[in-house]
């Protein structure tokens, strides 16, 4: 019996960039994302992280879910679904959004690209076709098309990313402001570039017809050769996004539709994303519940912590006293940040305990021996890391 045939449907799909990525992946360190074979790292996660922070590197976002929402009612349908008001979103702009259940619990976050008055692209981390279908029901002119497999997308992040794109021939890309979208002719087709990303640094995302995916990769890597361009995987991404303070499903929040236990999911207010909830909009999904949440104040608040010492506070509980007897929260993500030179963490802290002392009970291992210690945490009001170049237009040249 041919077992390869038998399990054909079970095998991970290969990204449009896989032939090139496989060559780079000297560690054969593959994980999966939405059914795609996906690199944890290619060579060394920390090395890749330093590439992102010091030169530039690419992250494969083919497995990210992409939906076209089209039709006369597309804007109305999306505007009812997400908490932010997208009716004022200009053409060729991107905006970061979250969407919630009727009860105001977060289903997912993602970005909306306005490609035409009646055409939007929604991207998000995990499949949400069923939710989009539910959201579209009752509108007379809106279609939702899952484009996930039909668009090849690559994220180029890092301080030299703009320089590389210029060298690749994308003239004028330096005038694109954060969240702008530009279109470039590319071998008889179009290469769409958005100034977006998940690293908090200067960066772009490239969207192209899958048939041109490898050609685009090759041209990008040729242009980036002198800039030490390098692919980066899941682990480096997770480091960069934590420094940027971006939330991750399965870490900072649990998608509401996949949550079984009562209120083990989150509201945008708990995730410190209240700024995305626009109560000037007379209606959006979860509005009533969120208004109540806002008036009452969230039970927990996602908080940036600077923790003494250098032991990452991964999976730590938080307490209001050094003896660690009064629990007030839990760490969602933690790392020693090379860029900030600090022991940082994102944590869910009971809102009414934010003003008092916060202690993390950190567990760590030293040569098979387990230790724990209480470390004092201080709340960081500002982002851990937000370089000026991430927002500058044109970005500094290299």
């Amino acid at each position: 019996m041919n077992t390869a045939e038998k399990y054909a449907d079970e095998r991970l799909m290969r990204s449009h960039f896989h032939p090139r990525e496989a060559a780079w992946n000297v560690r054969d360190a593959w994980a999966s994302w939405n059914g795609y074979k996906f690199a944890e790292c290619y060579y060394d996660a920390e090395y890749e992280y330093f590439c992102v922070r010091n030169s530039c590197a690419t992250y494969d976002i083919c497995p990210m879910q992409k939906y076209y929402v089209q039709g006369r009612d597309a804007e109305a349908m999306l505007n009812r679904m997400v908490t932010r008001d997208i009716s004022k979103l200009p053409l060729d702009r991107v905006t970061y959004v979250v969407w919630c259940t009727d009860q105001g619990r977060m289903v997912d976050d993602g970005t909306i690209f306005k490609l035409a008055d009646d055409r939007f692209m929604l991207t998000c981390g995990s499949p949400c076709g069923a939710w989009l279908k539910m959201s579209a029901f009752g509108f007379s002119d809106v279609t939702v098309t899952d484009m996930s497999d039909h668009i090849a997308a690559l994220s180029l992040q890092g301080p030299t990313s703009c320089a590389v794109l210029k060298k690749m021939g994308l003239h004028g890309i330096d005038s694109a402001k954060p969240f702008d979208i530009r279109h470039f002719p590319f071998h008889g087709d179009t290469l769409m570039v958005s100034r977006t990303g998940f690293t908090g640094d200067l960066g772009y995302e490239l969207w192209v017809n899958p048939e041109l995916a490898l050609q685009m990769w090759d041209e990008l890597y040729a242009a980036g050769a002198d800039y030490n361009i390098q692919p980066f995987g899941e682990e480096a991404t997770n480091m960069a996004r934590l420094e940027a303070g971006f939330i991750m499903p399965g870490m900072e929040f649990n998608e509401a539709l996949k949550t079984i236990h009562f209120e083990h999911d989150q509201t945008p207010f708990e995730l410190n994303l209240g700024w995305l909830v626009d109560f000037n909009k007379p209606h959006f999904n979860g509005r009533n519940a969120l208004l109540k949440e806002k008036e009452r104040g969230p039970k927990y608040t996602l908080t940036r912590l600077d923790i003494e010492g250098n032991k990452p506070a991964e999976h730590s509980y938080l307490y209001s006293n050094k003896r660690c007897t009064r629990e007030i929260g839990y760490v969602t993500s933690a790392m020693w940040s090379p860029a900030v030179k600090a022991n940082i963490a994102l944590a869910m802290v009971k809102t009414d305990c934010l003003e008092g002392e916060i202690w993390a009970e950190i567990y760590y291992e030293k040569e098979l021996r387990q230790y724990n210690k209480a470390a004092r945490c201080s709340v960081m009001k500002k982002p851990f890391w937000a370089p000026a170049r991430a927002r500058a237009t044109p970005p500094p040249d290299y």
Partner: protein, 507 residues
């Protein structure tokens, strides 16, 4: 511009009941009705020159409270506490007759079991009765009044006594067939007793989920009467209380606008473009029509919208009207004044249902027949009569869709079925008409042509009717209320939804 306290969409009996209560409480009320006269499915309509009949042909369990509160008797509603005899027809003329708590035409064993069975069912019906005229609170109780409602339900059931309460719990979701098989032998008696549990629903005797609740609902009314006189009395009572009723006025949509920063229903726009403002809009239309066609999903929440979408709203009952040149004669039957049921055994209903379940019309339809012109002589020329029958099963979503020839063929099948019991009927027919659920949908604006607006079943009952967040007559859209059969307690000519909605609005 005119401004009303409440605009009520639809002058069916629930819309009129609600309007009358609101107007009596001092509200300025406007009722808007698409048809050129009030009554909805209970309105008498001429189906042939000189012959009239309402689609809903009987009032079997109308609450005394509404009759008293609104003075319906003084407005001409002729009430009777005695229901029509129910006659299970037999081809050979050995009919089974249920009247006044006794049954005839069956063996001694069944005749002896029947009164006890009915008494027990009546005790159950009486225990539930107070709650048909009450708002059933949300499951998450937030106040003392709601807690007391639940407490009273529990107490009522407990007061049935241990044995009755156990039996009640046991049979609540029992298929009708099991209940009847346990108690009786005569096939006609069994199918006739099933009938009130399933008429109007997508159900048959073997279906779980239904047997008792609709049956008890139908056993818990106070008055029987005639639909025409009920509608006239309600119309008169509502008008006398000051409610304004505009017929031939179709509502195009509910005006949803921002008020205090949120969307709210603030009036209606008519088909002719006219806008009428109101503090609230109360819809007696079915939930899908109300939320999707009139309010629009844009102003609703996504999960709520999809709960309304999944309501089971397909009708399975066709309506047959015959204009007859005289009183029909049924083999072996002295008087045709009762409610006659053609369903010789429970499997006849079941097999008729099986075909409909897969999208076909029943080959051997089962039905309930009355001769309304016997009670209301205005429905037919003198000496002539109208036969009115609810014929099951005719699926709204017929395979391949309804057309004239399919309608005609089902009509003939229904007449053939009657002719087996009333052999001379074909010679008496002056005109015949069959309304399919699709016809009911387009002529009366009710989704799926469903009598009860949406299935009357356990999962769509009580605080789940039509769905949570709209089961207390208010809806998630501020200013929009429901008062139709899609709300607790449900369908039939009963008026409780209209009564309860008014109570919630005035609270």
């Amino acid at each position: 511009m005119e401004h009303y306290d409440s605009i009520i969409i639809g002058a069916g009996h629930n819309g009129l009941v609600c309007a009358a209560y609101l107007a009596r409480a001092g509200q300025k009320v406007l009722v808007l009705e698409t048809a050129d006269k009030p009554g909805g499915l209970a309105a008498s309509r001429e189906f042939h020159a000189g012959f009239k009949a309402p689609v809903a042909h009987s009032v079997n369990h109308f609450p005394k409270k509404i009759v008293t509160d609104l003075g319906l008797e003084s407005h001409g509603f002729g009430t009777s506490s005695e229901s029509l005899p129910t006659i299970g027809l037999s081809e050979e003329g050995h009919h089974v007759v249920l009247q006044g708590g006794a049954v005839t035409g069956v063996e001694a064993g069944d005749a002896a079991a029947y009164p006890d069975f009915m008494k027990q069912m009546q005790r159950f019906a009486d225990a539930l009765k107070p709650f048909w005229l009450k708002t059933i609170p949300r499951a998450a109780i937030t106040n003392l009044a709601d807690m007391m409602t639940f407490g009273r339900i529990g107490l009522k059931l407990r007061m049935l006594g241990k044995e009755d309460m156990r039996e009640f719990m046991r049979i609540t979701a029992l298929p009708a067939r099991d209940l009847m098989d346990e108690n009786f032998d005569h096939p006609i008696l069994k199918s006739v007793l099933c009938w009130d549990g399933l008429i109007g629903s997508k159900m048959a005797p073997r279906s779980p989920n239904h047997a008792v609740l609709p049956l008890l609902y139908r056993m818990s009314g106070d008055y029987c009467g005639d639909p025409g006189s009920l509608i006239e009395a309600l119309h008169a009572a509502a008008s006398a209380s000051g409610a304004k009723i505009r017929t031939a006025t179709a509502v195009e949509r509910i005006l949803v606008r921002t008020k205090d920063g949120v969307l709210a229903a603030q009036g209606v726009e008519l088909a002719n473009g006219e806008k009428i403002e109101a503090d609230r809009v109360v819809s007696s239309a079915d939930p899908q029509t109300t939320f999707f066609s009139l309010a629009g999903v844009e102003s609703l929440e996504i999960e709520f919208t999809n709960r309304i979408r999944r309501l089971r709203c397909d009708g399975y009952v066709a309506k047959l009207h015959l204009a007859l040149n005289g009183l029909p004669e049924f083999t072996g039957l002295d008087q045709v004044g009762g409610r006659m049921i053609i369903a010789p055994h429970m499997d006849a209903i079941e097999f008729a249902y099986d075909e409909a379940k897969y999208g076909e019309c029943s080959n051997e339809p089962v039905m309930e027949i009355v001769i309304p012109s016997l009670r209301d002589s205005s429905l037919a020329p003198q000496g002539q009569h109208v036969l009115s029958a609810h014929v099951m099963y005719a699926p709204r979503r017929l395979k391949g869709g309804w057309d004239d020839s399919k309608r005609e063929s089902f009509r003939e099948r229904a007449i053939d079925a009657i002719a087996r019991y009333a052999p001379g009927i074909r010679g008496q027919i002056i005109h015949s008409e069959l309304l399919t659920p699709k016809d009911l949908e387009s002529d009366f604006g009710v989704t799926g042509g469903h009598w009860h607006h949406t299935e009357f079943a356990l999962d769509q009952a009580l605080m789940m009717r039509p769905t949570y967040q709209a089961a207390q007559y208010s809806t998630p859209l501020p200013g929009l209320y429901l008062c139709g059969a899609g709300c607790h307690p449900g369908g039939d000519l009963n008026g409780s939804p209209g009564h309860n909605a008014a109570h919630e609005i005035l609270r």
